[in-house]
């Protein structure tokens, strides 16, 4: 059992780059570029189908079931339809910003997958700062969303975009701190090393970190309990009110590609990535990504949308202090018991339950209660 690896440099010697292809550099780059783009497009279609079918079942209706067997071709039909729509740009809009927004929103989401391992060493570039790269790149999409809201010259769009910036700014810190907990245990920032270190999936060693990452991730990509930027009952459709045709499709794609990013990150950081018995690694990766997304759909159908003050209070008064505590508790555990991992599982689960209960108790007593 080598989870708490005392000397990470010994692991770093393992071959993590893909084997030398004939032609080397260029073939490796071409292969993984094609794989990543195909992976994102196919899985986004799968996600749209899964979300609509699963939501249909959970709301006691059928969901799309006409195009193809079980409605499997519905996303393809949607994509075709949206590609043939007229492209409308409002007269008042800032044309250049309006056009650039979908590009700036979508490209970073694609780039994140460059460091996500699909199997041992099977990734475009095994950066030694992998997870920092992800954190840095993932925030850029917000800029695209804000450009969309500002460039449309529509009051609802601007409000939606502002809300998005506010929620991303708030949830960034708890999410990043919960990732730091994983980095503490692994002792490396490389995504491949993080997966290699998971003899036990980190969801058991870092249950509180997982909870914070899941909630914060859902809020950052505006999944439904936190989808204030496109709250249809208040601000029409939020930042993409003025978009139509292919540009709208790009934002739709961004939304699900971001969900894919968060599920891939949860899989890699907390669920053991591609590791698993019997099945091949890439299949394990796909299965885990799908399961995580299913849980997201589940929370979406279960929970009602929160108010904006509740959204901010949850980030600043609940998740951030807990993330800090989690970080330092993990740090102390690592220094005090560098080898006894199995014992940490019950301890950490107990710590999570106690902290969450205690903190919600404090809220109930009026500490930092949000005035309505």
């Amino acid at each position: 059992m080598m989870i708490f690896n005392p000397d990470p440099s010994s692991v770093r010697q393992m071959p993590t780059l893909a084997p030398d292809w004939p032609g080397g550099f260029w073939w490796h780059w071409l292969l993984f570029t094609v794989i990543i783009i195909a992976f994102v497009l196919l899985l986004v279609m799968g996600y749209i189908w899964l979300e609509r079918r699963a939501m249909g079942r959970m709301q006691a209706r059928l969901g799309p079931n006409r195009a193809g067997p079980f409605g499997l071709l519905q996303p393809v039909a949607d994509a075709l339809k949206v590609m043939l729509k007229e492209d409308i740009v409002p007269v008042n809009a800032d044309k250049i910003v309006h056009l650039l927004a979908p590009i700036i929103a979508f490209a970073p989401v694609l780039i994140i997958f460059a460091v996500v391992p699909f199997a041992n060493g099977a990734l475009l570039a095994d950066l030694n700062i992998g997870i920092v790269f992800v954190v840095a790149i993932s925030s850029i999409s917000t800029l695209g969303v804000f450009m969309a809201g500002w460039g449309s010259s529509n009051k609802y769009s601007l409000l939606g975009a502002m809300r998005n910036v506010a929620s991303v700014v708030s949830y960034e810190i708890p999410v990043v701190l919960s990732i730091a907990g994983v980095v503490l245990i692994t002792g490396s920032l490389s995504m491949n090393q993080i997966v290699l270190a998971q003899e036990i999936p980190f969801i058991l060693l870092q249950p509180l970190g997982f909870l914070i990452f899941f909630i914060g991730g859902c809020a950052e990509i505006n999944r439904s309990p936190f989808d204030l930027l496109e709250a249809d009952s208040e601000i029409v459709a939020g930042f993409h009110t003025e978009y139509s045709g292919m540009k709208f499709a790009m934002f739709y794609l961004v939304e699900y590609a971001e969900a894919l990013v968060i599920s891939a990150l949860i899989t890699t950081l907390f669920l053991g990535g591609w590791r698993g018995p019997i099945l091949p690694p890439w299949l394990w990766f796909l299965v885990k990504v799908m399961v995580v997304f299913f849980v997201m759909v589940w929370t979406r159908t279960t929970l009602p949308r929160v108010r904006i003050d509740q959204l901010m209070a949850l980030a600043w008064k609940f998740l951030f202090p807990l993330a800090l505590l989690n970080l330092f508790i993990t740090g102390i555990e690592i220094l005090a018991w560098p080898t006894a991992i199995a014992w940490l599982i019950p301890v950490n689960i107990a710590v999570m339950v106690i902290l969450v209960l205690l903190w919600s108790k404090l809220f109930k007593l009026g500490w930092g209660r949000v005035e309505v």
Partner: protein
Amino acid sequence: MLINYGYIGLFILAAIAFTIVMLLLPAIFRLVGINPRKPNPIKNATYECGMETIGRSWVQFNFRYYFYALMFIALDVMVVFIYPWAAELRKLGYFGLMAVLIFVFVVVVGYLYAWRKRVLEWK
């Protein structure tokens, strides 16, 4: 290790090119005559649920996340320092833990002050 950044740089170019091609597709279709293009003043007006728009939307207004943004910068800088520490904690030992605890304590005092001053409430 540097070769990896070569991959990343090329992939960034590929991702941007892919996005632009996706957006160009409808424009090409329009040239061929598949996509319609029939603009009229009402269709191109700003959509606000059927009401006519009053004024521009690029005006000054008071949006309440100003303080959050300030807090975010302070805390985010703290997080940047935490990452290298987290990766090397085993070598740094208890001394490193104490140093970062003191550092975080200083920032958290500011955070508690902001909480106390009711900056964290969305008014």
